[in-house]
Symmetry: C2
Subunit: 350 residues, 2 copies
């Protein structure tokens, strides 16, 4: 590289732009590479069904904080977030690999805790640990998990299939994992300023569980199948409803209207958001890490969908020219922007 | 965890024992999980052929040093070491995912260099980049790559198939990557003690290329197929001939005799080993990172094997009771031990 050239800071690009930029010149050479970068998982075709492949990196100090996260939970969550990506393709996960880099400060017993969490998730979701790698690291811990799943080609659901008039559905409720994280961060700061003060986590059970031990919604995938509903598009909510709905709309080349009153928010989430001077709606839109499923279904399936427990219809797909908008309780229409988790976090830190 | 219990240092276990210990309680639940931990790659069966899956972690300061390794080379090598594991199963790689964690000190241009190396390897080996993840890290760089390959079930070669009287073969030559690393480390130390002294790397072309830009031996896999030789066992030499031959013998429940005079060592490797007061044989046995293929073939294929260019027959398989031994030029028989790269490195540092 030319030392005189001005170098570009990574912070000038977001994560998605960065990936796009770095991988734009890659051209697939294998017919079996059906879907590459840009969905919840890659799809590799074989003559009897498709293989779905996804990978996630979890870095200490970025994705988790060992001050308040037990290693067993990190093991569990690391697996679950990958499985969630496989379910978001409407596929079933079957195998994972787990790679781990740790510094010398970690004991064998600490790693046993981590693997106990991995094992619990494997048993819960019926997936097998088939490989991995362990390594030293200079500082801290890093986990890299790859999950493999299978689905018949005609059952796979991508991000780009939403059509005008489709209903937009979301499972469970939103914003809880984010408010849970805010409570953990608040207590960490108090503890760090005075180690004699014990963390007060009573009354936060639901949101803490959502942050520390998320589950992947296999139950929703199973319910959809039983009801013979094949979503037209699907994504799991890892970055926040706004950001993930934008992925669906952008890739499907459509617009949408969602309604504030329809967005499912748990009572505890709303109460704690208030306590933290946060707007519950903003937590739901931009919070992230809920690992709920966001999907679209044909309008004709409306009746079936309303019968599904724990699924909310929050809006509908429109033409692209109508924009990606939320209708507030006050009746105003607001453009949703791509600002998910990152902006939220930095807003909160500032 | 009980705070009073004495915790076990990770250094008390080696990498292989650590993985065994941490994963011993995992039980596979899916029929498709044909081969889990313990070979070059996992094998997932489908009704029309098997999927081979492998993953590797490369950590700055542990696996590579940015002082003397261009990022493009790190990208290239990260891919190649994974592909080498796929070839070692006698399968063909077709897809990879690349995950990257970097600290803020990295510029976009630096990552472009890394991805240029990834792309070069993808093109050279005809594999597609289909996914990955990027993340911040607190310090340094970490790369996690997963490679997927395919093979008909009957063509797969495991580590556990070596039989008594089989011939032991190795491709290329050994010890070069390790001596290359020693030269880079020597020049780094000189540079750090006096930054005005420029590194002197003339005359080390071959061993430096072997360290910085290793290749995976697809050519050997192709030659074996053309010659209709199906190895009975195979592994790629990443930890050193000793350690990797031990894997084959232990898993196949056999012993072996290899012969010092037969072990292929490049002239430059031998010369530089002398310059560094290292025994060339020890570099070949314990050096690691050569990414050559070590395999066994039935005695009946001896004639075919001797006709293969760039393949050396270095010994034969014996009964387990005869031990895993090398016969030196002086005629003495020495037990090979499991000490690969790690011990070598620490011996050298001490």
């Amino acid at each position: 590289m030319d030392g005189k050239r001005k170098l570009t800071q990574l912070s000038e690009l977001g994560e998605f732009k960065l990936i796009d930029h770095l991988t734009k010149d890659f051209v697939n050479q294998n017919k079996s590479s059906l879907k590459g970068i840009g969905d919840d998982a890659a799809v590799i075709s074989t003559s009897n069904g498709d293989i779905v492949l996804t990978t996630d990196l979890l870095v200490e100090g970025i994705h988790f904080n060992l001050v308040y996260t037990p290693l067993k939970h990190i093991g569990y969550k690391s697996v679950v977030v990958n499985l969630s990506d496989i379910y978001a393709m409407n596929a079933r996960p079957s195998q994972i690999t787990v790679s781990l880099a740790v510094s010398k400060k970690f004991s064998l017993e600490a790693l046993e805790e981590f693997y106990a969490g991995v094992k619990l998730a494997c048993e819960r979701y019926c997936v097998d640990l088939v490989g991995g790698d362990t390594s030293s690291s200079i500082t801290g811990m890093m986990v890299s998990i790859t999950a493999v799943g299978f689905a018949p080609a005609e059952r796979l659901v991508y991000r780009n299939g939403a059509c005008i008039n489709d209903l937009i559905c979301v499972s469970g409720d939103l914003g809880a994992a984010y408010t849970g994280l805010q409570i953990l961060e608040r207590e960490r700061k108090i503890f760090e300023s005075d180690p004699l003060i014990q963390p007060d986590l009573a009354g936060y059970d639901y949101i803490l569980a959502r942050q520390l031990k998320p589950e992947a919604r296999i139950d929703i995938i199973e319910k959809l199948e039983k009801s013979s509903i094949l979503p037209t598009s699907m994504i799991d909510i890892s970055d926040g409803l706004s950001s993930d709905l934008l992925h669906i709309c952008t890739q499907s080349k459509v617009g949408c209207r969602i309604y504030q009153e329809k967005i499912p928010i748990n009572k505890e989430t709303a109460r704690v958001a208030g306590e933290l001077n946060l707007e519950p709606l903003i937590c739901a839109l931009n919070g992230g890490e809920d690992y709920e499923l966001l999907f679209t279904i044909p309008l004709g399936e409306a009746e079936k969908a309303t019968g599904l427990q724990d699924v909310s219809v929050i809006g509908h797909i429109t033409g692209q020219e109508k924009g990606i908008k939320i209708v507030t309780d006050g009746g105003s229409e607001i453009l949703l922007d791509a600002e998910g988790w990152d902006t939220m976090a930095s807003k909160n830190h500032s």
